[in-house]
Assembly symmetry: C2
Homo-oligomer: 238 residues x 2
Amino acid sequence: MPERLEPGRIHVAVDILIFTVREGRLSLLLARRKNPPFRNYWALPGRFVGLEESAEAAVRKLLAEMLPVRDVYMEQLYTFTALNRDPRGRTISMAYMIILPWQKLQAALEEEDVQLRCFGVNHDAGGLYLTAEGEEAITLTAGDLAFDHGEIIRTGVTRLQGKIDYTDVSFRFLSDTAAFSLSELQTVFEAVLDTPVDSSNFRRSIRGRYEQSGRIEQTVQAKQQGRGRPAVLYRLVK
Amino acid sequence: MPERLEPGRIHVAVDILIFTVREGRLSLLLARRKNPPFRNYWALPGRFVGLEESAEAAVRKLLAEMLPVRDVYMEQLYTFTALNRDPRGRTISMAYMIILPWQKLQAALEEEDVQLRCFGVNHDAGGLYLTAEGEEAITLTAGDLAFDHGEIIRTGVTRLQGKIDYTDVSFRFLSDTAAFSLSELQTVFEAVLDTPVDSSNFRRSIRGRYEQSGRIEQTVQAKQQGRGRPAVLYRLVK
DNA sequence: ATAAATATTGTCAAAATGACAACAAAGTGT
DNA sequence: ACACTTTGTTGTCATTTTGACAATATTTAT
């Protein structure tokens, strides 16, 4: 990747937000940049879009190069086109959101270099910031990240929160959609919204919305290892 | 605009959906293409993005060249990147939605060539189609429109319907946000959703959502020309 | 004056929501 | 064994929201 891009034309890139829920916290995968500009900064994984591929295909390739995963949820987030967002030259970036169960992501990460890390998304009065063990906290408004990736992440987190309770994205965080408990699903909601949820009301609303219509149903097995009472397992239909 | 674009690079364009509500029907501005490809087809107004302008700036320029309007609502819809969407070469299109009160749009159109027309958005079992007086109906799925503009329009209408009742976009259709009646606002909702709305429940919800919080308030004047009882006028605050 | 048109308010049962209490089934520790 | 903790699950109940519709108000048209 050259330090200076071909002048006189607009370059088109994709950047991806890989979301997961890890230990009850919404988290995001960042890559440490090996090359200038922003060398050694944390950044969203990205890639230029080839002449013979759609943006979705570019995202799939980028993903395939990074992690051995398949069948992932993918959604176009927003296209960022500010003039000076890339010091190398004129570049626009199409941001895509990807959701992976932590189990899958973790397994995939172990086979890789340590240039990738999963950061927890934290909320406080000042806004969002990202943390990981042994790393300094990353502010999203203060140029801690490469390019305009702080803005992209803020946009993504807001979108995710906005749509979690009227779409099916929450299920994409589950490691096994054929056997999950409502508590696990509740953990996803609590992590994404960063707020506690009343179990009773939560299961009422989920069952009303999904069980009635047959989108989820109880499985025969109901066992589970752990401390407390075993949970009834559900599966996502179709 | 050349028939063949410079090869070896991706071209970036913006296409705009100018929505309005006209005579109680959601409507959309289309332009008849003067040049190939798709010569004489109806299409969304579009423009290539210059090297020194953001996508928003390109949209504003396109709009300024077409219509003498200012201070319009603008929202990025989606970026379309399919490989063969433009026969001239590799082009991606960033679609933007724009909302204009019919009064403004109509005034602006009268000063223009007849290459621009406002089409009504109609819903039936087969999906969406567009109509205008003296024009054949335009299907959105059957290649009646240039490029992939049918798909873009479907995406836009769906998005607009999806967000009308939890955002403020409905107000953007009003010709005068300093003096409008709740009936006028209701007409906007009915047009966008293409379904009748109960007046009583409608005003209860609008007033609960906006009057309580001070976003709208009654104006002193309450007169109105017309047949029936004059409506109380509201104004959007700030 | 009457009718038609439009705007506005009121009512009321049904449904959804939020805040809790209570109960159930497992493991842990003494 | 027993009490205790942890996790899952169901129940309750007052409040709020919603949907359907009736009733009233104020204007123009005939």
